[in-house]
Amino acid sequence: METLTKRKPSLIKQQAPLRDSTHLMDMCMACGTCSAGCPLTGVDGFDPRKIIRMVLMGRDEELIESKLPWLCTMCGKCEHACPMGINIISTIRTIRGMVDRDKVPGMIHKGIELCLETGNNIGLPEEDFVFIIEDVGEELAAMPGFADFKVPIDKKGANILHTLHNKLVNTQNEDLVHWWKIFYAAKEDWTVPKQNWEGVNWGLFSGDDEAMKLSVGRIVDNMDQLGITNLMYPE
């Protein structure tokens, strides 16, 4: 057991945005609400209130090096019931953001890099993307009731710009048509961009604010160029 002499000030605490300026992270009373509600409590030592207590004790390095911040699914159940309004989610994101990018687990950071490079998390070239969605569009048109259906790509002045989850154009093509059917039935004026169509911003999960900002900026650019004011961002 290490003897505590002086607590180190926590950079995590300083940087994690508050939910509300009157609800400071320090106000946590370690009541256990978050731990009781969190679906991951007990998994590999995860416990949201423990993470908050570690931050308050200034144990930043330990948290940044540990696996704990990566176990959270960011579902927000903890914050929903927290009586003190503690910024649990933003704290965990802030910790993630402080981890060296090469230590970000799994494929998330790779996905972000690919996205920044190619406009989508799986690095799908534009012609492949267009081929896939047009192909699925033709399949839909062959179904009864959708005779003249066509996927509108980069349609200027449409009412809605629609982004896509990368898995829909990758492994789960059949799920693309659900939205399209609704658009068709509602006679919606929509479009999908052929560049920067990615609807999943993994910067959210890796704590990478810069990457998030870039991805969001690209969608805004698309909207500006196409003259569209409504965005449908299903992820």
Partner: protein, 980 residues
């Protein structure tokens, strides 16, 4: 009520009743209002209360001059000469200044004329509209015309005009034409009001406002007040503890604490103070009802057992009754697969997640954060009880209410408003004559004619020996009928009256009016509930039964006699022992009412713990009390003095004082207030092995030195509950948590870089002081809970002071090197042996003075005329001690403000000729009302202390003791008639 009210009390819950009774007992005319159609507030829904698991509200009733009030269960209703109760009435505006205020109120139309309704229930039987029963937490149904509280007396119905369809069925069957569906609200104006007590309560949080508890979706999630109704025999299941979904008894019940409290996210940064104890009580009742194998689990953050005897209550529940206590706030309640069951997840002491399934969950709800005070609350002349801003337990509400009564009485006397002398109506000359009974047979507007043949009844009545006149009335409910009776009583020969009418409780207020006009005392009048008897229509001999009842009462009335009242003059001086905040405020409360006060202080100086108090606000408050008391012409102070003897009865005591120089003084007084105080408990010597380890009091003193430099105090550990809350000192000292918080924040102010840790068992920041706890955390102070059996250890290693503990939040041991360790050693009472034996009062096992009842008579002792307040009674904060002092002062004032005290008719007396002086009666008297007069060689009864309970009469082997108005000749005649 004859004279208009001097005082309005808004809210007829516990606080309002207490305050109204206090002021009525001082002789003021009080109007007690409530917007609900029944009085009693939250209490009507609670059958039994912690910590003794009984009710006891009747103990609030006057203990002397008892004939002024009806002595029946106070949960049912209140009847006092000086109190008018106005229900369904809400104050809307207040104008004017203290002493002369005008109050406007609206009396809602209830559809039923309370003066005519006899509570016969016919209307309810025919009403076709059923709505959820709000009294029973909507767990059952009631009619649109209903009784607001099922056991209320008088039991007049009201109509829920929102639910009522105006079908008119009730109007048709009402025998007294009491129902008028077209009635509109009435505006009432009260003029010349001296002052107003605001006692409207705080309301209860509604958990349906939060989506996490499933309230309203899962039938087996109930609030704690609904659980009280389930436990109650007047509840939705007639007292069977079953769960709402399938009406089966639950095997596993969870209590969820802090629902709607300690939650700044919903604007509730406060503790509701009473819920922890309520849940323990409910868990104990669940075990009592359903068997000890019922699993009861309380989910809590801090068990706030801060009342003097509450820690032992909790310990007993935990150890002897196996109530499980789990320190984890619950996130949410989810349905379990099994029908009606509930899933609750929590983390245990080691942080391990546990999924538990319960049959039922009880949400411990407290104060409603949305409740706002009325606009007029701040108007001058309105004094609010603490219970309008804080939820609190009954004892605290009662103390606060009496404190408010004291302030109001002081305000009135400084405005020159004095209670009017009670003019007792002169007795009619006829009363002294030989018994002559007037029987009044009421036909209830002819409706009873169908069941009883009145002429036949009259013929039977004539057979009773004794002089009897019989009158047949169409209805005695209305003014016309009652006037006929008055006429007969004023002009006829009868000096006793027996009504054969309806419910006696409904009818009794009319007897009072009748007594005032006719000069026949109300004790010479009685009522037989003819209507009630006829409802048992199955009876084969209705006439016989009615006659039986009438003859019993007639025989009793024939034997009534007037006992000349034993009137005792009052020695209008008070003796106050102890000059701390409690004693000073009691002394000043009395002096403000023109009562001479002899203030006795054992030490050289007054002020109690003043020298040890550093909080600027509290110092100022006590300093002011000290200055006022020193300057007050009616207060005589004796420092360096003790009371060595006290004899006598309430109103007439003689005390001996002994001064430091050995001289003695005799004081004649009418009442005494014990405020002998207490102080800091010493720390065991072995805990102070290093000068960095000090008591909390010493750290507080150090930090409050002028010019203190705290730059070198960089890490401080506070340790709570040193010696408190475990045997032999198994009580919460109540002040330490707040003191640690304030000291820690002072330290942060002096040195913002100081790291502070507080090791605690349960943070006892009850009520509004929760805000200090929140603020302390916001300042970065870390709080680490520990259990009694795993206390943190202090070690000294080469000059370093280390505190080793375990942090259950991190699930890790923790070791802190501290520049200071502050130990919260708690409070102990000053020795009370001498004062207890001198005043013949009981003490608790911890050496405090035992009050008469911790809830209902918190500042009375078991002996009438002797009161107790402040630290002598139990741990309190200084501001609470001041409040208790005011309350004790007011209790004493009830005696001292009078010139005389009349004894009640129902008091014991002794036939000395056949008394053998065995003294068994003295031993059994629960009110300490009997003693031997050595000069007369007789057993004496203090008729002021005597409550007429009759234990002495039952114990007396010779029949030498009798109870006034229950002498055997009258009672035996009544029994004779019953058996005949």
């Amino acid at each position: 009520m004859n004279q208009p009210a001097n005082i309005l009390v808004i809210g007829a819950g516990i606080s309002g009743i207490r305050s109204a009774l206090d002021l009525a007992e001082l002789g003021y005319k009080v109007c007690l209002l409530d917007r609900a159609p029944a009085m009693g507030g939250i209490l009507t829904r609670l059958d039994r209360q912690f910590p003794n698991n009984h009710c006891g509200i009747c103990r609030m009733l006057p203990m002397f001059d008892r004939d002024n009030s009806e002595e029946f269960c106070l949960r049912k209703g209140l009847s006092h000469e000086n109190i008018e109760v106005l229900l369904s009435t809400e104050v809307i505006a207040v104008e004017g200044n203290p002493g002369n205020m005008t109050v406007t109120a609206v009396k809602q139309a209830t559809g039923v004329d309370a003066d005519r309704c006899i509570g016969c229930q016919e209307c309810e039987k025919v009403c076709p509209v059923e709505v959820p029963d709000t009294f029973n937490a909507e767990l059952g149904k009631r009619k649109a015309i209903y009784l607001a509280v099922p056991y209320q007396m008088p039991n007049q119905r009201v109509i829920d005009l929102q639910a009522c369809t105006r079908c008119g069925e009730c109007v048709k069957v009402c025998p007294t034409a009491a129902i008028d569906l077209e009635r509109t609200p009435e505006t009432l104006t009260f003029e010349n009001i001296g002052g107003v007590v605001l006692a409207s309560g705080t309301g209860l949080f509604n958990p349906q406002d939060m989506d996490i508890y499933g309230m309203g979706h899962f039938p087996n999630v109930v609030t704690s007040s609904a659980f009280e109704r389930i436990l109650s025999s007047s509840g939705p299941y007639q007292g069977s503890l079953i769960r709402p979904s399938d009406q089966h008894p639950p095997k596993k019940i969870a209590w969820i604490q802090c629902v709607g409290s300690r939650n700044p996210m919903i604007g509730a940064d406060y503790c509701s103070s009473a819920c922890c104890m309520i849940s323990i009580k409910q868990a104990l009742f669940a075990k009592e009802r359903l068997g000890s194998d019922t699993q009861t689990t309380i989910f809590y953050m801090d068990m706030r057992t801060f009342g003097r005897d509450y820690q032992r209550y909790r310990d007993q529940a935990e150890k002897e009754n196996n109530v499980a206590f789990v320190r984890c706030r619950i996130h949410s309640i989810e349905p379990n697969e099994e029908e009606g069951n509930l899933k609750i997840s929590y983390v245990d002491h080691s942080g391990k997640p546990v999924n538990a399934v319960f049959d039922m969950a009880v949400l411990a709800t407290g104060k409603d954060p949305l409740r706002k005070l009325p606009d007029f609350a701040a108007h001058p002349g309105i004094i609010a009880t603490d219970a309008v801003s804080e939820w609190m337990d009954i004892g605290s509400s009662v103390v606060s209410a009496s404190g408010v009564s004291e302030r109001l009485a002081r305000m009135l006397s400084s405005a020159g408003i004095k209670p009017e002398k009670q003019a007792t109506a002169p007795l009619s000359d006829k009363v002294a004559g030989s018994p002559h009974l007037q029987v009044v047979l009421c036909s209830c507007n002819g409706s009873l004619d169908k069941v009883i043949e009145e002429n036949q009844l009259a013929a039977e009545l004539k057979k009773i020996p004794g002089r009897i006149d019989i009158m047949q009335a169409k209805s005695v409910c209305d003014a016309e009928g009652l006037d006929q009776v008055k006429e007969i009583l004023l002009n006829g020969p009868a000096n006793r009256v027996l009504f054969a009418a309806c419910n006696a409780q409904v009818f009794r207020p009319k007897l009072k009016q009748l007594a005032a006009v006719t000069g026949i005392p109300k004790e010479f009048m009685d009522v037989v509930n003819l209507r009630g008897l006829t409802e048992n229509a199955a009876s084969h001999d209705l006439l016989g039964e009615i006659m039986n009842q009438l003859e019993m009462r007639a025989n009793r009335l024939f034997r009534k006699k007037i006992t000349p009242a034993d009137v005792r003059p009052i020695q209008k001086t008070a003796l106050v022992i102890g000059s701390g905040p409690a004693g000073l405020s009691a002394a000043l409360a009395l002096a403000a009412q023109n009562i001479k006060v002899v203030l006795v202080e054992k030490k050289e100086t007054i002020g109690g713990n003043f020298a040890n108090i550093h909080d600027a606000q509290i110092r100022e408050m006590i300093g002011q009390l000290m200055d006022e008391a020193k300057d007050h012409p009616l207060i005589t102070m004796h420092t360096d003095t003790e009371v060595i003897n006290n004899a006598g009865v309430a109103g007439q005591f003689v005390a001996r004082l002994r001064h430091a120089n050995g001289a003695e003084t005799t004081v004649l007084h009418g009442a005494a207030v014990i405020a002998t105080g207490g102080g800091k408990a010493d720390l065991p010597a072995d805990t102070l092995a290093d000068n960095k380890i000090i008591s909390l009091y010493d750290l507080e003193a150090e930090l409050n030195q002028p010019g203190i430099d705290a730059a070198n105090i960089n890490t401080v550990v506070f340790m709570q509950c040193i010696g408190s809350r475990e045997e032999p000192r198994n009580y919460c000292s109540r002040i330490c948590c707040l003191k640690s918080l304030k000291t820690a924040m002072k330290l942060k102010e002096l040195n913002p870089n100081c790291d502070i840790y507080v090791f605690y068992r349960d943070m006892m920041t009850y009520g509004e002081s929760e805000k200090f706890y929140t603020q302390a955390r916001a300042k970065g102070i870390i709080f680490i809970p520990f259990e009694k059996q795993e206390k943190p250890a202090i070690k000294i290693e080469s000059g370093r002071v280390l505190v080793e503990g375990y942090d259950p939040v991190l699930n890790e041991p923790v070791c802190i090197e501290a520049d200071r360790v502050a130990l919260a050693s708690g409070l102990i009472p000053n020795p009370v042996d001498l004062v207890a034996s001198t005043f013949h009062v009981e003490t608790t096992q911890d050496g405090f003075i035992q009050e008469a009842d911790s809830k209902w008579r918190p500042v009375d002792t078991g002996r009438e005329g002797i009161f107790v307040c402040g630290l002598a009674r139990g741990p309190v904060r200084a501001d609470e001690a001041v409040q208790e002092g005011k309350a004790a002062g007011l209790r004493a004032l009830r005696i001292l403000a009078r010139d005389t005290i009349p004894a009640s008719q129902h008091s014991a007396y002794v036939r000395h000729a056949i008394c053998s002086l065995c003294e068994r009666c003295i031993a059994v008297c629960p009110f300490d009302a009997r003693y031997v007069d050595p000069d007369l060689g007789r057993i004496m009864v203090d008729p002021v202390a005597c409550q007429g309970c009759g234990v002495c009469a039952a114990e007396c082997p010779n029949g030498a003791t009798l109870i006034g108005d229950f002498e055997e000749y009258g009672v035996m005649d009544e029994i004779e008639a019953a058996l005949g």
